[in-house]
Symmetry: C2
Subunit: 453 residues, 2 copies
Amino acid sequence: MMEQREDTRALTERIETLAADGSSAELRAVLADLRAEDVADQLEHLHGEARPVVFAALPPETAAEVLMGVDEEVRAQLLTSLEEDAVVSLLRLLEPADVADVIGALPEERAAMVLRRLPVPEAAEVRVLLEYPTDSAGGVMSTHFVAVRDHHTIREAVEHIRRREQDLGDFYYVYVWDAQHRLVGVTSLKDLLLARPEQRIGEIMDHEVVSVPAGADQEEAANVALRYQLFALPVVDDAGVLVGQLMLDDLADIAEEEASEDMYRIVGLPEDESVFSPLRFSVRKRLPWLFVNLVTALFAFGVVSSFEGTIARFALLAALMPIVAGMGGNAGMQTLTIVVRGLALGEVDVRNARRALFKELALGVINGALIGVVVAGVAVLLSANPWVGAIIGAALFLNMVAAGVAGATVPLLLRAFRVDPALASGVIVTTVTDCAGFFFFLGLATLMLRHLG
Amino acid sequence: MMEQREDTRALTERIETLAADGSSAELRAVLADLRAEDVADQLEHLHGEARPVVFAALPPETAAEVLMGVDEEVRAQLLTSLEEDAVVSLLRLLEPADVADVIGALPEERAAMVLRRLPVPEAAEVRVLLEYPTDSAGGVMSTHFVAVRDHHTIREAVEHIRRREQDLGDFYYVYVWDAQHRLVGVTSLKDLLLARPEQRIGEIMDHEVVSVPAGADQEEAANVALRYQLFALPVVDDAGVLVGQLMLDDLADIAEEEASEDMYRIVGLPEDESVFSPLRFSVRKRLPWLFVNLVTALFAFGVVSSFEGTIARFALLAALMPIVAGMGGNAGMQTLTIVVRGLALGEVDVRNARRALFKELALGVINGALIGVVVAGVAVLLSANPWVGAIIGAALFLNMVAAGVAGATVPLLLRAFRVDPALASGVIVTTVTDCAGFFFFLGLATLMLRHLG
């Protein structure tokens, strides 16, 4: 595996050199040996200037495939480097769902211009897709699928597939719809292959077909497909009409994306940022969040500064207080992470939210008691004063309990208000554990001040 | 969607009541209306005592499917509630990969006992699977696949599939192997369906088949399959012999699992914990990590306590210092999260690690400068002393730069030493930003002390 990595690296350097030297014949020869997916990988790892050069050296079919294979930023860069004519010719090679993806990411004016230049039926289909929210089943579905009527024979179905083979990639399910195109059943290539040619679809089809509405959240759709272990998930509109399908590779992407998104949101990153997002983009996206954090940091400042008198008399408290806040913050982030993932994966819902909260509360009590005792011991050693130990031990215990409650309550409340449970939750939880930690510790210290001097 | 949720909830309560009342006939009737996947979902949401009762009411085939559909803790609970005879009969209904999963999770002694009672050929296959690490391609693959020789006709291949239909679930690829069972090509159900029955497999097969070695990490395997948009990924041993395949639904699970795992590791959660893990398990798993965090918190204590004299003379510093540390911690976690995900998704590797580091450094400089100026202004307002503003602004700038460097360097270094880049990285990064933040702020304040009083 490592050797392969080194080869890939050498190849990247070779491609960059060829692109810089303008050796386009040789560049084309090197690229011709690669799968489209590997060209996409190379493009993502090339220096920015080399990308449009390499992309221009690709034959149209490969270019279209590569365009859909690279990540969104590289795609945006490539599209910016192309003339409108070139964009239109590329889009003509793509299926509507991909065209909608590309157009949805273009600046509004350019999008409208490009859309006007596509063939009318295709443009109409793309407009429908663009109407669904980008993170809904309708927004990510493919509009290419195979559907037949139940009175068709297996032989007719196979003929139908053969005629459409050009626009179909790999697929497994053959859907069955009625005269109004409403989804009524499903069968599979395996069933078609094993049935007799003269049998009717209605005899072999499965009437129980799992589908999702086009407006469903993509994460919910992915959970449904993964739960039922489906290769693809049909998407229906409000009238039950089959309008598309989610392919399992899209679903896997979604599952991964949503998990990343949870991580990102907890720490305040925009979901569409990645390591090599343009610097300007990263600054613009992360700054507002850091300012939010600054405002919450002022709460902690407010708590500590109200105990300035105590600290002035006993400065060791200032050195000990980050321990209380930090331990609470860490425990709170653990609880938060596990509850956010539990909600996303459907393990936690209204049926057991209270049980989740109680468990994290109990965990805070137990871990808080154990760690409180240890910290109390350490503090006595550091300060040679048993009162300091008692105060920090008690504060730590209380803050760990607060961490468990806040870490579980914040995402559950956000969900109850129909807000993404991950959103901003990291800052809220650490603000609670900072403020509570400082308050418990310095508050107890102030009460016991005569024992500290 | 919400309505459905309410129905599910009512159903959970009804099942719990029936289980508690011992109304087993009625319970069986309710369960018979549900798909196995939905029974699994219900089991996960039932009270612990109700689970074995409900599970016992299922017919054997459904019980086996449900056993594989529930999460690992519920599975462990159900297995514990069963007699050895019952476990063995259930395992006889499962395919080897699933049997290996179940046996791998049993206590060692019980595992050996159960394994001895399985049919010899199946037990041998399970033993092979148990030898691969649980997070390798070999450890998660299914050993059920369809493979034919290239001289076979399409008709013969279809007959082969028909004979084996009983043990095959849904599948899409038909692999082609040579006399030594080495993987040499691949074709699909679609190709079989559209080919003429008398054509030979060799004529329609694709020679370029993407596969992974059995020892490959499951995350790498999932990335390969998602990159090439495959429904399944064949797994080969060291000699190139086809030994199994990873199904795409497993791959989607893996992708999701790995993303969750990254989140978990950053905050110090064990990868196998979930919201409803037993309390004892959670305490045992989270405590050691909290103790690690305690040790690192002592570094921060050390830094602050070495400036006790400064704080004693100017206690406002104690209230301001959490702002410097907290902002750095947040920025560091942002960088860390994005670099860890970039490494996991293959966006960052040796080819561009330096570029990633420089970008995060630049981001630290820009965000640090902008936020530093704002915080300096706020601090002047709070303290009515321009020196306080200058000190905190400069310290914040330096700490944001340190956060960018630490957030990027820690995971990159861990990866270079072949350790999971997410592991423990959250604690390391926040320790750096705490210590650096306190040091820069209190250090500068000590140098400027005569201007503060």
